[in-house]
Symmetry: C2
Subunit: 328 residues, 2 copies
Amino acid sequence: MSAEASAILKNLYAPILDEIRLLERFLEEEFALEEPFILQLIQYIGRFRGKQIRPALLLMIGKLGGGEVTGEHVKIAAVIEMIHSATLVHDDILDSAALRRNVETLHRRWGERVAVLMGDFIYSRAFALSTEVPGMAQVLSQTTNTICDGELLQIRHRFLPDMGEEIYFKIIFKKTAILYAVACELGGCLSRFDPEDCRKLRQFGLDLGMAFQIVDDCMDYAGDEKVVGKSLGTDLHQGKVTLPLLYYFKSLQGQAKAAALKEALRKPLSAALEKEIAREVREEGALQSAFQRAEEFIQSAKSTITGFPTCLRECLEQVSDYVLRRRH
Amino acid sequence: MSAEASAILKNLYAPILDEIRLLERFLEEEFALEEPFILQLIQYIGRFRGKQIRPALLLMIGKLGGGEVTGEHVKIAAVIEMIHSATLVHDDILDSAALRRNVETLHRRWGERVAVLMGDFIYSRAFALSTEVPGMAQVLSQTTNTICDGELLQIRHRFLPDMGEEIYFKIIFKKTAILYAVACELGGCLSRFDPEDCRKLRQFGLDLGMAFQIVDDCMDYAGDEKVVGKSLGTDLHQGKVTLPLLYYFKSLQGQAKAAALKEALRKPLSAALEKEIAREVREEGALQSAFQRAEEFIQSAKSTITGFPTCLRECLEQVSDYVLRRRH
């Protein structure tokens, strides 16, 4: 994380510092009695814990929406963070990633067996916890199912630069945005917001999540590995078609280069060609267009919550701005 | 499956043929509207579907326990089969298995990414379905959590022939027996059996599951790949310490061979040594002792249900006998 982003985040989380501490204590106590081997793995995975934006959103909504943050808020915030952690552990296997937050990934350090099983372990524990709060288990298990569906859709569309924006947006809606949407919506539900406001929170979270993923996909072309804390440039290498590449491909319309790019992606790219394509994505405007699309989603997110109480609205706006700034 | 085992099973499932059909129709309809890619994968995984003993137990208990088999029975039977399928898909990755029921495993056919995600997809769908029947979601997600815990415990104790029986039984209790226990117990719960009978069904399922896993572990040393339909001899190769090996190690007590075996397991075994150890496990009585232990669990299972209505009792006894006979 850049110093700037880190400072913003600290400021942003100031109103919910106590609640973030409750969340961390909850996660610690939840696993305190596990077998030593599992405890060790859980603690290792804890080192990947980052900004915890999803649970933070839920807690902010609970705290600043006029109600009180209850044990139920903390539990469901923990469940959401656990679901996110489990997807990361499995994603890192899928992506053959070596680093996550500058720490060796679980499958590199402990082997694939352990990584597959720890993902399953965390998912199932998250579901078990969610059943302790009425009305939560169904939406959270369906959300997880949608996330997997989105990831499979992405695999299905690898190496296809002509798959179109619509498929891309469907993929990131499912694999990323929905968990933001549910974090925000459930924050509202647990605080007994009226249904219309819960719906708005869901829409806010969806737009925020879409922007988050687009920025993530932009960073894969433009980020600094040390700042981002994970391997970059992997999307193109793995044939994952993200918005910057889609826009670059679109910009080539009608040119012989478009057909050549499509053809080139069918087989593993040479390092030189990969570098060349990444450079053109960065320099020919595609990256900028993609980033603008993220900005539009943030505008849309903000417009949904204009009628919210000032305190909550300003806080959610700041999170929205942060999602864009983390590119630096 | 041997012709003998197959004939037994056909006879055994005769009273619940309609219910098994309902289960299969349910599973088909549940996924009918998925994206074509996911549907294709689900249908592929369907080819691994075997004896479906766990859901069959639940349905037998529902049908022969004096009540009626409802949509809830079918749904929870499906959830249990789905949880089992998801563990198989992930297990096959962990075991680098090439075949399952004589069909190429999912990760071999479609790659690891797809296999990891399809396991997650099926788990999360199973949890989502379980929330539709009151009181089921918590026990089923906790059970899945215990299964993962057991598998991790097994990984932790690889290459340790002196780990002792107690750890072995703890591992198979968690990774295998508990799902049998829950299938039987929930069959009783859904049919409004009294709590004492539900407890007995759970105990019956536990013993049955312990026996099932021991027989499975014996078959890995003594089975015929064509009959069993999967790669055999993999436990020793992977350093998984199962009951036949534990008993063999115990039989060497005090001999220099014991220390040599312990030492040998620390590094990958040569093919010749692997063959030699497997032969001794088969021929020096260890395999037979392990099988006897499975028979004791079956005796215990049967003794728990002596007071049950004749029809149900006889049916459950036949399943118990089948678990032992499938070694042929």
